[in-house]
């Protein structure tokens, strides 16, 4: 018996065995791609576009007024240059994996043209039409454009690249990619429950979606349509995607209006400014970073327990306690580190001292930082030792909170070194007392430093 013949018989026997059990679903009826496209277009209010290798549904919305001053936006760290075109992009997919079998069945794009924010969406009526859809998207993305996405660096764009490659096509070239998720996390996460785009809308943009489709429902609704189901459940998905794309523009507008101008951002919450300062500092823009931090620490900072604002199902504002995020200690320690980077060691020491005085969870770290400054900048080993001992006492007490083993090891090393140095200095003084020799200058002994790599970079930065 040939192999295929056996296989056929096995399948038949297997089917027979299964027939005794209830089947989950019947084979779906096949529907032509053109029929599917027409159904889809009618339901979502779009038009069917037919290209050489398939059809897709195009939905164009009326433009929206989302004004944005690109020059001002460009002043913020990590933002696109003023001259480049921006293309906001968001996809809806048949799964969460970026593997080769996940489809992007709806791609929404948005860009500024003629002073308005314009949006277009491309919908896939049938898997066979994917080539036409991908070509259409390609045409909408200029090669010099920056993409603007939300988590698009790790999800939407790699998935689209996989789709292009799967179809034997090159992915659209573009000049840059601004993923707003890390930006939002850094600036606003401290006052939000999570960093989902929907939460951003409620917490930052004052927008509340009604009857929005949940993310987990989306693949099922589309796959149901592919299997011959109705197109109506996709209407909400199209609206959802349309809102998502527009929110990308709104977040950009928020950043530009409320944070680009130093005078305007001076009224922003301290936590936002601390986040912004980090972004400035990463780009070496230390002066702007310092300005943000000085503003942040110049006024009362909301300290823990903090409150997170959210809205319940009826749009009523509710408050609930939240955790994490920057408080006064954290923002001040960022301030102190920045002062150190700027070589303003004594000011840094003063800030560390203030943090230590408050006795919060960062006080051990603050004493250690003071010890570093006393040892390496002031070359006052006795003062350094005193600071280190204070840190040691705190660390050994029960209530100081969580500290890593690394901190303990670092401190022990520091204590040993400082004790050795002070004792040696004392012995030398005694010897000189007997021999009447003048005291030599304190020797610079880099080899004895605790962690050479770190100390070295610390020393370079402090010059």
């Amino acid at each position: 018996m040939s192999e295929t013949a056996t296989l056929e018989r096995r399948l038949a026997n297997y089917r027979a065995a299964l027939a005794e059990r209830p089947r989950t679903s019947a084979a779906p009826p096949r529907r032509s791609s053109v029929v599917a496209a027409t159904l889809l277009a009618d339901a979502v209010g779009g038009e069917v576009v037919t290209a050489s290798d398939g059809s897709y549904v195009r939905v164009e919305a009326a433009g929206h007024d989302v004004a944005i001053d690109r020059d001002r936006l460009a002043r913020l760290p990590g933002m696109p240059p003023a001259a480049v075109p921006l293309v906001c992009l968001d996809t809806e997919t048949t799964g969460l994996s970026t593997g080769a079998g996940t489809l992007a069945f709806l791609v929404g794009l948005g860009w500024w043209g003629d002073g308005r924010f314009r949006q277009v969406q491309y919908l896939l009526p049938d898997e066979a039409d994917e080539g036409a859809l991908l070509d259409a998207i390609h045409r909408q993305i200029p090669a010099d454009a920056w993409l603007v996405t939300y988590n698009g660096r790790s999800f939407d764009w790699p998935l689209l690249v996989a789709r292009y490659r799967q179809g034997g096509r090159a992915a659209p070239p573009h000049a840059g990619h601004l993923d707003l998720l890390p930006v939002v996390r850094r600036l606003f996460r401290h006052r939000m429950e999570n960093a989902r785009l929907k939460t951003v809308e409620t917490a930052l943009l004052g927008i509340h979606r009604h009857e929005d489709v949940e993310g987990w429902e989306i693949p099922g609704r589309y796959l149901g349509f592919l299997r011959g189901g109705p197109a109506a459940p996709l209407v909400q998905i199209v609206e959802h995607n349309d809102e998502d794309v527009r929110s990308l523009a709104r977040v950009l507008a928020l950043l530009e209006t409320a944070y680009a101008d130093p005078a305007v951002r001076a009224t922003a919450p301290s936590g936002d400014l601390a986040g912004l300062a980090r972004s400035f500092a990463e780009q070496g823009r230390l002066v702007e970073a310092l300005e943000c931090l000085e503003t942040a620490v110049s006024r009362d900072i909301v300290v823990r327990p903090r409150v997170i604002l959210r809205w319940d199902d009826h749009g009523v504002r509710v408050e609930r306690p939240g955790g994490g995020g920057p408080d006064r200690d954290r923002i001040e320690s960022a301030h102190a580190r920045l002062l150190r980077r700027l070589g303003r060691h004594q000011e840094a020491a003063a800030v560390w001292f203030a943090i230590a005085e408050r006795g919060g969870s960062l006080s051990v770290r603050s004493h250690i930082e003071i010890a570093k400054i006393r040892e390496h900048v002031d070359r006052d080993h006795h003062a350094a030792l005193r600071a280190a001992i204070r840190a040691d006492r705190l660390l050994s007490s029960a209530w100081h909170g969580l500290h890593s083993d690394a901190l303990r090891r670092d401190l022990d090393r520091r204590l040993r070194r400082l004790r050795r140095r002070t004792e040696r200095a004392a012995a030398a003084t005694r010897d000189r007392g007997r021999q009447g020799v003048p005291a030599p200058r304190a020797e610079h002994q880099p080899a004895e430093r605790g962690r050479p790599g770190r100390s070295a970079s610390w020393a370079t930065r402090s010059t």
Binding site: T98, G99, R165
Partner: protein, 778 residues
């Protein structure tokens, strides 16, 4: 006998053979003469940098098999290299890969190893040769331990990617668009330890390779496949089944070897009425000690972790009493950290470590150099594994000694009494069935996820439209407007397919010994009944686990690590119904048949059996629902062979003969006897004749039964030999199984039936008397 002075392995062996209590157990002593190297010059086309790199490592010429392999690959042929341990097999694939990369640095190669440890060893070795050849080549392992940032670098720039079938299945193939550089440029695919890809796992791997080659075709590459295997009966056939294309067999070993002594040892029977023997562990220890005391590097293999611990303790204890080199004896097993393993391997290579007691963790190609003596406490389950373990001893110049000590199991006994099995060409075959319906359907889903199928596309045996339509009924794939089949589900199919199991539904085994519960593995429902019922001892990579809880509804078994001296064996009550006959023909005394069957299995109790002696030390009940298994089977009827027999006698004879056939079948097809279920029926309602069924304990089967059907005559002759040569009185666990009734001579009955099935005694006659004298059993 106490030997403290250093002596050669041969001298120690001579003295041991003069010791009557040891010499009595030696069933066979083979002297394999020393063999000189057969060499060939390095091929002229080999890149001069590689020639220099080889020279730097002291290699100026190749062994004949290496030269043959790389010439064949150079000429574009797929090859399968089959040569013993330590014969320089690795160069057979590293040289062609280095050459391909020297010719064109944009080339890629993919190495597949069955385990992570082997893969990491090979990367290190490959890297050294590349550096010696002053070729800058990025070779990296891509496995579960690879950190995320490095993964993306390997995807885009890794010239040699070393991975295992599981990673290929779940991480590389489904994400092929991110690996396009590899798929476009892959020139060579290396599959080492080919013989480990058998049974369910091999059938899965064959389908993973079908998916791999399908994607290579899509990306326009046509890689050469180089397989390397231990000695098995059908390496070329296995390679062809796994890769779907013919390969040239290279099995003429050109490596030199010193003289070798191979001893097959059967521990003497202590009590002929029960067949009780000295345990292989105790006996192996007696053989090992004199070699260790004489300063000979010795490795002793035990089958389970607990066996290793018993041996290790025993050896250290004995050496302490006699002031031997106690601290130079080490244990080695799976689960050791890589650094520990490296230090033991290094210790063995430089002679610092004298003796090692190991599980089969060392069986595969890890490099420990060559030792003087290798002793196997129990047959490791296949001829291939036996040679890999014996091959650990084998100096190039001095004589070495390999000793196989049998356990009291029928498989061990069969092998030990058939020296020709081990010594004259392996008769065992690695079987797979890549077209097992469940496995094929699972991989068709994965393949559809990876790329849609065109109508009429071939995957495996032929066009797969019918199968795709069948899957479409479940809704996971869909035929789109263009007639192609697309993945149409939000699930990620590769994560739902375990390469270790054929069934769609599995029990997940969760280890709770650690701080955080960890998934150990999966078993299909049918195996779960007997392997992970509550209070079972589940053995995974030679480590024992106690099953604390089996949540049948949730398909989860919770286990924790233990070290105890027994294992469990669950009794399956089985009813069997033939569904379809694929092949049938007349045989001596009856008929032989290959077909499909439905097996209903109920497991009601388990026994606790002691390691080594298989002594029953307790039992317990099992409360699990009945299961049905649709699978393939081989069966034989004995209508004329059993004519005129008394029903009771026939019952005993069928069961005894069946057990012996089961043992021989396990040997021939390299499987655990538990992989083949046995059912005997004095009068089968379906065959209307006395029938012995061997069914595959895997849904759909993996091709074992078809092959058993083909080797029917060998099975009967082998079973007859096993029973005839057993030194027990009237049946024992080593031949016909433990005796149910001490007054019945199961051995004689089974032997007569098998003789009739063999045609040894053409005049079939019913036995005169089967009741032994009461005095014989006391």
């Amino acid at each position: 006998m106490r030997t403290y002075a250093p002596a050669s392995a041969e001298a120690v062996l001579e003295r041991l053979l003069e010791e009557p209590s040891l010499a009595r157990g030696v069933v066979h002593h083979e002297r394999i003469p020393a063999r000189a190297a057969v060499t060939a010059p390095l091929p002229a086309w080999l890149d001069e940098r590689i020639v220099a790199g080889l020279a730097a490592r002291g290699i100026g010429s190749l062994y004949s098999h290496q030269a043959e392999a790389i010439e064949a690959v150079h000429a574009g042929e797929d090859v399968v290299v089959v040569t013993p341990t330590a014969s320089g097999k690795t160069l057979c694939y590293t040289l062609p890969v280095l050459q391909a990369l020297a010719d064109d640095p944009s080339s890629r190669a993919l190495f597949l190893f069955p385990t992570k440890a082997l893969g990491q060893d090979q990367v290190a070795e490959f890297g050294e040769l590349a550096i010696a050849s002053s070729l800058s080549i990025s070779a990296a392992t891509y496995d579960g331990d690879t950190p995320a940032p490095i993964r993306s670098a390997i995807r885009t720039a890794g010239q040699v990617v070393v991975t295992n079938p599981d990673m290929l299945h779940s991480a590389i193939l489904p994400h092929h668009t991110k690996w396009f550089q590899l798929f476009e440029q892959v020139r060579v695919i290396v599959i080492d330890e080919l013989h480990t890809y058998r049974g369910v796992y091999g059938s899965h791997v064959a389908n993973v390779l079908r998916r791999l080659l399908r994607l290579c075709r899509h990306y326009g590459s046509d890689p050469i496949i180089v397989c390397a295997s231990a000695t098995i009966g059908n390496p070329a056939e296995l390679a062809a089944q796994l890769t779907g294309r013919p390969a040239r067999l290279i099995d003429q070993n050109g490596a030199p070897r010193g003289e070798r002594h191979i001893l097959l040892v059967d521990p003497p029977v202590l009590d002929p009425s029960t067949g009780a023997r000295t345990s292989a562990l105790t006996h192996a220890q007696r053989w090992a000690l004199p070699f260790l005391r004489a300063g000979r590097q010795t490795i002793v293999f035990g089958r389970a972790r607990v066996a290793v611990e018993i041996l290790l303790t025993g050896l250290r204890e004995a050496l302490r009493e006699h002031l031997g080199p106690r601290s130079r004896i080490r244990g080695y097993r799976g689960g050791y950290l890589p650094t520990e393993r490296r230090s033991i391997e290094r210790g063995l290579r430089d002679g610092e470590i004298l003796g090692v007691v190991s599980t089969n963790a060392l069986e595969l190609g890890v490099d420990i150099g060559s030792l003087d003596v290798s002793i196997l406490a129990g047959y490791p389950g296949s001829v291939a594994a036996t040679w890999q373990q014996l091959g650990r001893a084998g100096r190039r110049l001095e004589p070495s000694v390999g000793i196989l000590v049998a356990n009291a199991s029928p498989v061990d006994q069969y092998v030990i009494h058939h020296p020709e099995f081990l010594l004259q060409g392996s008769p065992e075959e690695a079987r797979i069935d890549p077209d097992n319906l469940h496995i094929l359907l699972a991989h068709l889903q994965c393949a559809t996820f990876e790329r849609p199928f065109d109508a009429g596309d071939v995957f495996g045996p032929g066009p797969v439209d019918d199968l795709l339509a069948f899957i479409a009924e479940e809704g996971h794939i869909r035929q789109a407007g263009d007639g192609r089949w697309y993945w149409s589900s939000e699930n990620f199919p590769a994560s739902e397919v375990s390469l270790r199991s054929a069934a769609p539904e599995n029990v997940v085994i969760i280890d709770t010994s650690l701080d955080r519960p960890r998934v150990l593995g999966e078993v299909d429902l049918f195996s779960a009944q007997v392997l992970v019922h509550e209070r079972a001892i589940y053995i995974h990579e030679s480590v024992q686990y106690h099953v604390d809880r089996l949540e049948w509804g949730e398909r989860k078994a919770y286990v924790h690590r233990v070290d105890i001296d027994h294992y469990t064996y669950a009794n399956r009550a089985v009813t069997l119904k033939p569904l379809d006959v694929f092949a049938e023909s007349a045989a001596t005394g009856g008929r032989r048949i290959h077909g499909e069957v439905m097996v209903a299995s109920l497991v009601t109790l388990f026994k606790k059996l002691k390691f080594g002696t298989d002594e029953n030390v307790g039992w317990g009940p099992i409360d699990l629902p009945e299961l049905e298994l649709q699978t393939t089977a081989y069966w034989l009827t004995a209508e004329s062979a059993a004519e005129g027999w008394r029903r009771d006698d026939l019952d005993v004879a069928l069961l005894g003969a069946g057990r012996a056939i089961q043992a021989v079948a396990a040997v021939l097809l390299m499987v655990d006897p538990r992989d083949l279920g046995l059912v005997t029926q004095v009068r089968s309602p379906h065959q209307e004749a006395p029938t012995i069924y061997l069914y595959e304990a895997v849904p759909g089967g993996v091709g074992l039964s078809e092959r058993l059907y083909g080797r029917h005559d060998e099975l009967i002759a082998g079973a007859l030999g096993l029973i005839a040569e057993c030194s027990c009185d009237g049946g024992c666990p080593a031949c016909t199984g433990a005796r149910a009734d001490p007054r019945v001579d199961a051995k004689a009955l089974a032997r007569r039936l098998l003789e009739a099935l063999c045609g040894v005694n053409p005049k079939t006659r019913p036995p005169e008397s089967t009741v032994l004298a009461e005095s014989a059993t006391g």
